[in-house]
Amino acid sequence: MRKKRLDRGVRARTEGIYALTSWSEMGYLIFPRGVLIVGLLVLPIFLDLYGQRVLCAACIYALLALGFDFLAGYVGVVCLGGSLFIGSGGYIAGLLNSHFGWPALVTIPLATVGGALFSTLILIPCLRLRGIYFAIISFMFPLFAVYIIIALNIFGGTEGISALDTLPNSWVELYLIIPILLIALFALRRLVNEDMGLILRGIKDNDQAVKASGIDITLYRTKAVFTAALIGCFGGAYLSHLYGWLGISLFAMDFSILPIAATAMGGMGTLAGPVLGALILTPLSEALRGFGQLRVVLYCLILIGFLVYKPEGFLSYLQRKYEQSEHWEEV
């Protein structure tokens, strides 16, 4: 006996050009996407207040994981400092709110764009270099930001600034971030299959070839980093208005490491995988809140376990199972 695996026909017909022949095939494609969309939109109704807060946090981590996966999986740029995005978005939104009294409706978009511009600008110098420079610099900046804020005692110093405007109620909180998460997810999935995505993947695989085609690599990498920064900074701006508070813990290591663990868990380069990974890991880490530093140790163990023993991640595994038919046959 041996196990025989065969790709389903629908997979071949939807890889490049979509050539669907029946409603059942359409349903086959829509089903997994539909489960995610409807599931996320309906989930808040069944949760209590605490669960809803956890879901908000999970969505923020999911946004960061999405940005990380986009950069690492499609541009070949490893960003170890997701908290830089959270921090710059959160601080800009909070400062605009506390100094000028602008409402969240204005500060969140401003902070998203402003924070993304700021973080892209300070990351540009290392985009001209290949290899690990970006990882190192992006790892250093959040830590430096903390030192500088404490040393110069600016932006509220170690205590931070409290009593910012919060969002009106938990339904607004949830139905602001969930659609944005879904839009970001599907927009990025579309983007990586467009021309720009082709160039980005080309840069990852062979930058000299892309350069030889007369394309400015640095410009495209900058654009990619800006895109990821936009997603992350929105998360930050939203976070500071969610808790009505900003402080140096916006630059905490959690925001850098959990998205990476979620990406390794969900599968690098799948985009939806990291989102699912974040939705699983965040409640787990909430449950372990009482154990202090054990949480971070746990993410790291999960991270290394997946990297070493299951590098494809669980989403790629599920996808394979979904797209293939298996049966035992006589040899």
Partner: protein
């Protein structure tokens, strides 16, 4: 005069911290993000051996360094070896190992482990006392740091230029394929480089930590310093790393002297950004310049 002497001490500290990281990166191309955590771990190990187990100082240092070296070996053998060549995974995995060690040290209440938190962990200096050099008062530990910096650098130089193992390390660093054709085992060399690199991080810890407290948070700072030195000097370049430690050491001392201690990190960030803008491969990063530029 004070600036020159304390600047030199600072530079020696940076050189000691960075030398292990440069060695590992130069040989195996693995950015060992666990560098800072090994540094802190050795600090706590030495403290535990000295105070809880009442071991002799020299013996404690040797045991701690051996453990650090073994840890480097284990990290390579069980984690990094499976990820060789996948740059993304290498970075992430070594970063995760680093976090496991650093946050693990701060973990509380598992099996009666209290966690190393707070400013209670101090190593005592090798030799107590102070002396006067060119009219400036310096304590002996700082002089020892300068001396050890010189000794470590010259020993490493000799090791990599005149011994068989050292030469094979350099061969792999320069051209992996050609070295492999000459019968040098790439994996074994990389494992060795991680072992030596971690032991060097531990050595730096033992020499430097008597100046202050041992805290887990220092791990991040040490890692940042090592990374900063390597970026400014040029990744994988020895001479560059030494030069960069002097640049940073004096820049930080000068900024402390003229503007106050709080500007130190601002100066460090500024230096890194300027170097990346004008000499992207670092001060002396010639060897791999073409490979790194896009």
């Amino acid at each position: 005069m004070e600036i020159i002497i304390y600047g030199t001490v600072n530079s020696a500290i940076f050189a000691l911290i960075a030398v292990g990281f440069t060695l590992v990166y130069g040989v195996s191309r693995v950015p060992n993000f666990a560098h800072g955590s090994v540094y802190v771990l050795v600090g706590f190990l030495t403290w535990t051996l000295l105070n809880d187990l009442k071991v002799n100082y020299a013996a404690a240092v040797i045991i701690a360094l051996t453990i650090a070296g073994l840890l480097g070996l284990v990290i390579y053998r069980f984690v990094l070896i499976r990820l060789r060549g996948m740059a993304t995974s290498e970075i992430i995995a070594s970063f995760a190992v680093s976090l496991i060690i650093l946050e693990g040290l701060r973990m509380q209440g598992i099996g009666g482990f209290k966690g190393f938190i707070g400013p209670f962990y101090m190593l005592r200096p090798f030799v107590e006392g102070k002396s006067t050099v060119f009219g400036v008062i310096v304590d002996y530990q700082r002089l020892i740091i300068i001396a050890m910096g010189l000794i470590v650098l010259s020993l490493l130089w000799g090791f990599t230029h005149y011994t068989r193992i050292g030469l094979s390390l350099r061969a792999i660093a320069q051209d992996e394929r050609a070295a492999m054709m000459l019968g040098i085992n790439s994996d074994r060399t990389a494992m060795l480089s991680l072992t030596i690199g971690s032991a060097l991080a531990g050595l730096a810890a033992v020499i430097i930590l008597p100046l202050g407290n041992v805290t887990a948070e220092a791990g991040y700072r040490v890692l940042i310093y090592a990374l900063a030195v390597c970026i400014i000097g040029g990744l994988g370049s020895w001479a560059g790393a030494v030069l960069a430690s002097f640049v940073i050491g004096f820049a930080m001392k000068l900024s402390t002297f003229f503007f106050g201690a709080m500007w130190e990190s601002v100066v460090l960030v500024g230096t890194i950004i300027l170097i990346l803008l004008f000499r992207p491969s670092g001060l002396l990063g010639k060897q791999k310049e073409l490979e790194e530029r896009v």
